[in-house]
Symmetry: D2
Subunit: 311 residues, 4 copies
């Protein structure tokens, strides 16, 4: 008896990336078939076109900020976030066994990793040339190749498990306690149930470029007591100064205050793309303002129904 096939989860590969490490934290990982893909759009497209049931991609980094390509690809629609994953981020300088730190003349890594280790590099390897790679894992693989043109790679320590490399230095990031936020993305379907500690993500396209548009958007949330946890303006590509807003708010769309805020947003915006309601990785629960619980909304609705009927 063969059973159901394992669900396929695409992720930003190759093997050995932080994204793989994030994927490995999922509770269902034992029965998942992981598929490394070369880019975030490739991983998300695999879900869109049915080749995978889910995709894990990075969305936000506590040092570098939003991962633009993820936000922009999600804004394209037909996908929702069903979970978020927080992963502490730390970098190591990996080299072939026998290499000395002083030998490191050409270093390769992803641009974000280079940015996050800028000060360490300036202090310890001021003469080294940094060559960009499309991922840290690609960089590690390139160093591991026989006759490599590179002396070392900045990468996740776990890359050393996949390649014959050793760490010349660890925790070389300029900012300690860096965290990257990843999301598990799926095709639209039944939403995860509200847990009391949820987030809702969306993209709001403003109707036209009037100066007060952002203030209007924020007021739709504020008046219903819904706090935002992240807001990013992203260019729509239609000209300088034309933006959409990528927004995360506290709460689940099944909660009345969130649902009403989203409907308000939908009415004042040219378009709103819903990107999912899902449990928060940090388990934080919102401090609800008086008058914003589901019971408050129900009670107000009953009151309105009564007075409309003249009772």
């Amino acid at each position: 008896m063969t059973g159901t096939p394992s669900p396929r989860y695409a992720y930003l590969g190759p093997e050995g990336t932080f994204t793989e490490a994030a994927l490995r934290t999922l509770p269902e990982i034992a029965r998942v078939d992981p598929i490394p893909l070369a880019t975030v759009p490739a991983a998300l497209d695999a879900v869109r076109n049915g080749e995978a049931e889910g995709a894990v991609v990075p969305i936000e980094n506590s040092v570098e900020g939003a991962v633009s390509v993820t936000l922009d690809t999600l804004a394209g629609g037909h996908l929702v976030i069903t979970r978020e994953i927080l992963l502490p981020v730390s970098f190591a300088l990996l080299a072939r066994p026998g290499t000395q730190l002083a030998d490191c003349k050409r270093i390769t890594t992803h641009p974000h990793s280079a940015a996050q280790c800028r000060r360490w590099l300036a202090a310890h390897l001021p003469q080294a040339e940094v060559m960009l790679a499309s991922s840290n894992a690609v960089a590690a693989a390139a160093v591991a190749e026989p006759g490599s043109e590179f002396d070392a790679a900045i990468a996740s320590p776990i890359a050393a498990e996949h390649y014959p490399l050793v760490a010349l230095a660890e925790e070389i990031e300029d900012v300690r306690d860096a965290v990257t936020r990843f999301v598990l993305v799926a095709r639209p379907g039944p939403l995860p149930s509200p847990t009391g500690s949820d987030k809702t993500s969306m993209v709001a396209f403003i109707r036209d470029d009037h100066p007060g548009a952002l203030l209007e958007i924020l007021e739709e949330f504020a008046v219903r007591g819904v706090n935002l946890t992240r807001i990013e303006s992203r260019p729509t590509g239609d000209g300088l100064g034309r933006y959409c807003f990528s927004i995360d708010c506290e709460g689940h769309v099944a909660e009345a205050r969130v649902g009403e805020a989203l409907m308000g947003l939908r009415r004042v915006c040219a378009d709103v793309r819903f990107l999912g309601s899902y449990p928060r990785a940090d388990g934080a629960r919102p401090n609800l303002r008086v008058g914003t619980t589901d019971a408050d909304f129900e009670s107000a609705a009953s009151w309105l129904a009564q007075l409309k009927e003249g009772r």
Copy 2:
């Protein structure tokens, strides 16, 4: 065959007041049985306790402002406004035939009328003593009494139709184009249908006396694109600086933007007393902001329903 009895409409009497003139403008007046009562609370209580089907009372004057006793009595509940009536207001100085202007030493009138003719009195009868009466019609009646202690009354010109008085001067009000707004009040029942040019009245009791309470109330309306046409703070009687707000807004509670604003108000306030949705006397139609029509609300609700179902 006897037919249905005429509906009884109480009004702020006695006969000859501006309120009677307002009552006379009602389209159903031919089949109404008018009942003059001595005070606004008496007229409204007659409706509350079933002695009358309706009551016409003044609520706002373009010179003196809100009629406090009406606002406060309506705030007591169990009544709704079903129509508003606008009446131009003009005053005459009425005296017994044969009286000369120079003879007028003691004048009687209602305090509001005295206030509205202050400058005319100062200019034309600077020495005259003004004695207050509970209504202009009472004042006119007092002047008409044989052996009256008064020489003249400031009253509506129509009071001269009820009493043997003549006008020594007309249009003596300091501010021309004064208008008084009256309301027809009934017990709660089926609301008048929306006409596209309606008003909704209510009283909002703030939860506690925090400084931003009024701003919060205004934002509940503003965020849904509902304009206010009047707002008055009124003491609740519980101490200086404790207020409720008497509010008129554009639109009908059956319209989505008004209904949602009222529910929002209900959630942020300690209490909200609904005082009716009714056609505007001036027929003005609101300039609806983009995204605030009933169709916009329905479309946003369908969208929300779909995304909650994962479609």
Copy 3:
């Protein structure tokens, strides 16, 4: 040696009113020459035209709300408030000695007092006719006259000190703990120094009747962390729905946050009439929001000056 003449303080007379009682609480009362005048406008005009140095008038009552005539006369300009006085208010039913409660058929009093004893009258003297007087003291005087047409007056207990009357009932007000707020008004001159517990009063005339005008006004205060303690809309007399706003806020105009809020108000309004900064009678001190002290304003101004100079 004659010395300086005593300053004359007009007040809303006649003798025996609550206003006289308020005047008597002033610390400088021993060297003041009190002048009772018949109306609030008369008392304020006496200051305007130099006949008096000050005037004490009622401005707000915890039951009836604002004293419209005071607000409207102050809005006429050329006067500022220099002090506020809070006075507990209690009413007595005063009659000639020998009168029994059951004999009271005709009662006279000021309309506000009648309103505040409405329920007591309905319970104890349901058949009595209430005749309005221009003040409680006038009412008391009228009852005291030989052959008076009135049986009793509702007035301040202290009226019994001026007239040969006795109290048939005391504390007959419907709402206990009622307080009336009086103000001492003077011609513009050097302002009272800030005490850390001050109020500032003003009247704001909106530029035109746009729906968001009140919200704009409130935001000028809110953005600078200035709390309002009272706001009243008052008709300007130019037509229904045309208002000005009578406003009290926390703080002294010499404090930066209040000064900047007033300048902001001045810029968004058609006109602003400043009515004085003066110590609060209740001694309450504002809870200043972070960033709104005078030191914060000075520090921000130095910073701006530096960066404008390119330092």
Copy 4:
């Protein structure tokens, strides 16, 4: 006679980048000594430490959004923007002479350029591997090297002027009319004079991470009628969800409404870094709201001064 030495302007090199093209549009270019540097931080540091008088760096792209490294380096302080430059952006596929489009298996370019030509690549070279380079000019140089591992580079057409390359395809960007905004940066000094069409840039660090912080910031501008032209949240590096805001607004800090908004921002924020007031490249002039001109601010200040003196 030798004359003054030419001012040195650093820019994001190497030669052949879009940034060099932007630098070439400066009116003073004839007497400038251009210094290509490898990174944005290097170019800005050259100004900070006095090696250059100015630096031209990209700050915003109509497709990819903000240039994070520029925002973050400017946020480090001690620099101001003195001019902005808008440059249309178009890409070419450059190769060694003789190369056919079909031969292009390995393509190199900067990550932003790769992102902006994603669809063209997918359509015309779906099998090609894209290797990242630190700039388009570096990519072009790499392709031009004898024995290069790359077949083609995506770069500015002007790179073909510096290297022996030909264009296999032009205008291959997915979005036409893309524009990049560059800024000329200098050490703090006398500001450029207001022109009536200016922008002011700053970074606002919020005091703590309270949900309403962004709303507060926006209101400081809105209440003074200052429009924002760009706002970006940027992580401060202190943990997920901790942001500062990079802001451009209309107007010059020497204008009263802008100066007061900045002081307000300074008071509500933990810190504000001023990044300059400079002429707009597009020459657009703000639509000033009533009450927000310098004359309005002066008039309000005179009024306040008068009433503080009791006149």
